[in-house]
């Protein structure tokens, strides 16, 4: 079975690159980006099974990025990362096609579980 392709987007540089490293250590093909615009360029080139997106980002925010991902790659499963204050936006994200949202600070085991569920839904679709 091929490694899960995951793309991570968060403007918190140290956070997103550390998460990338942790997922790579678990055998995933993880790639991290710090802006929605950079991430979209990569998504246009390469298909990812799961895309993890921070809701609050400068420039293109997480919900706008979600809309663009769904246009570009409808099958991609998006998991939103959010703070308590942005939970309403994340609920809106679910209505717009996100698979799930997690509140920061996240637990990596919980994230991986959500990723596996997301891949399972993608396979069924």
């Amino acid at each position: 079975m091929s490694a899960l392709r995951v793309l991570l987007v968060d403007d918190e540089e140290e956070l997103v690159f550390t998460l990338e490293e942790r997922l790579q250590l678990r055998g995933m093909c993880a790639e991290a980006f710090t802006s929605g615009a950079e991430a979209l360029k990569r998504i246009a080139q390469q298909e990812f099974e799961v895309i993890v997106v921070d809701v609050k980002m400068p420039g293109m925010d997480g919900l706008e990025l979600l809309r663009q991902i769904k246009t570009l790659r409808p099958a991609a499963q998006v998991i939103l990362l959010t703070g308590r204050a942005s939970e309403n936006e994340s609920r809106l994200g679910l209505e717009q096609g996100a698979f799930a949202y997690l509140i920061k600070p996240i637990n990596i085991d919980e994230l991986i579980k959500k990723m596996e569920q997301a891949v399972s839904r993608r396979t069924k679709e």
């Binding site: 140290e14 956070l15 490293e21 250590l25 204050a85 996240i106 990596i108």
Partner: protein, 233 residues
């Protein structure tokens, strides 16, 4: 020069707690990000130790680099908490002697996340010797923040927004300079509230346009309640 003279009494009573709430929410969001990063870094260390049981010891260079990254996050968190603490203590006394440059630097740092969301950059410009003002520190911080918010709303994010202070006889001037996307309207939020806050501080607010389409929001306050300058520490 356009003088602003608007009655903004409505909503003034709630504006102080609302400002305090916005800043606290923003700072705690920053702290949450730092703690999340510390959590991931320590998680990475655990992962490496677990992987090391099968693949051999972690290279010392890798460990040293991880320790540096953790230390950087702790320093970042400490600086954020110090700012919040200083801001919280600005409500302690309604009149206090403060270094104006330090106060402006604090407000610029607190407004940083709001600027980043708009992809704009704020900077304080020191002009001349530092000097003190005797004022209500919380009201002053609120007024400067509103001025910055106005510059962020109206300004072109490609241009730096600068904040500087100057002393003219018995007055202190705080100048927020920005390049607007279009001629800024001096109506609507935050004008009425800013005008009221400046009156409470015994000062004025005005907007001037200068060279290269740069606009200057000028907040003027007396140096002291008695109008006499005080010495910087």
């Amino acid at each position: 020069m356009i003088r602003v003279d608007m009655d903004g009494q409505q909503g003034v009573y709630r504006s102080g707690p609302a400002f305090f709430g916005r800043i606290t929410a923003s700072v705690t969001h920053e702290i949450n990000n730092v703690l999340s990063t510390v959590g991931e870094l320590s998680g990475l260390l655990e992962d490496l130790v677990a992987a090391g049981a099968q693949k051999g010891p972690i290279p010392p260079e890798k460990l040293r680099h991880l320790a540096e990254r953790l230390t950087a996050q702790v320093s970042k968190g400490t600086a954020i908490i110090k700012r919040l603490n200083r801001f919280a203590h600005s409500t302690d006394e309604p009149a206090k002697t403060v270094d104006l440059g330090d106060t402006l630097a604090l407000v610029v740092a607190l407004a940083g996340p709001f600027a980043r969301r708009k992809q704009a950059t704020l900077e304080t410009h020191a002009a001349g010797e530092p000097f003190n003002v005797q004022t209500d520190p919380f009201l002053l911080e609120h007024a400067v923040f509103l001025g910055l918010e106005y510059a962020l709303q109206s300004g072109d994010p490609r241009w730096l927004i600068t904040v500087s202070a100057a002393r003219h006889e018995q007055l202190a001037e705080i100048i927020i300079s920005f390049v607007p996307l279009e001629v800024p309207a001096m109506t609507g939020a935050p004008w009425p509230l800013l005008a009221v806050l400046m009156r409470q501080l015994g000062g004025t607010v005005a907007c001037t346009s200068g060279e290269n389409n740069t606009h200057h929001l000028v907040l003027t306050i007396p140096l002291t309640e008695s109008g006499q300058p005080t010495m910087a520490p």
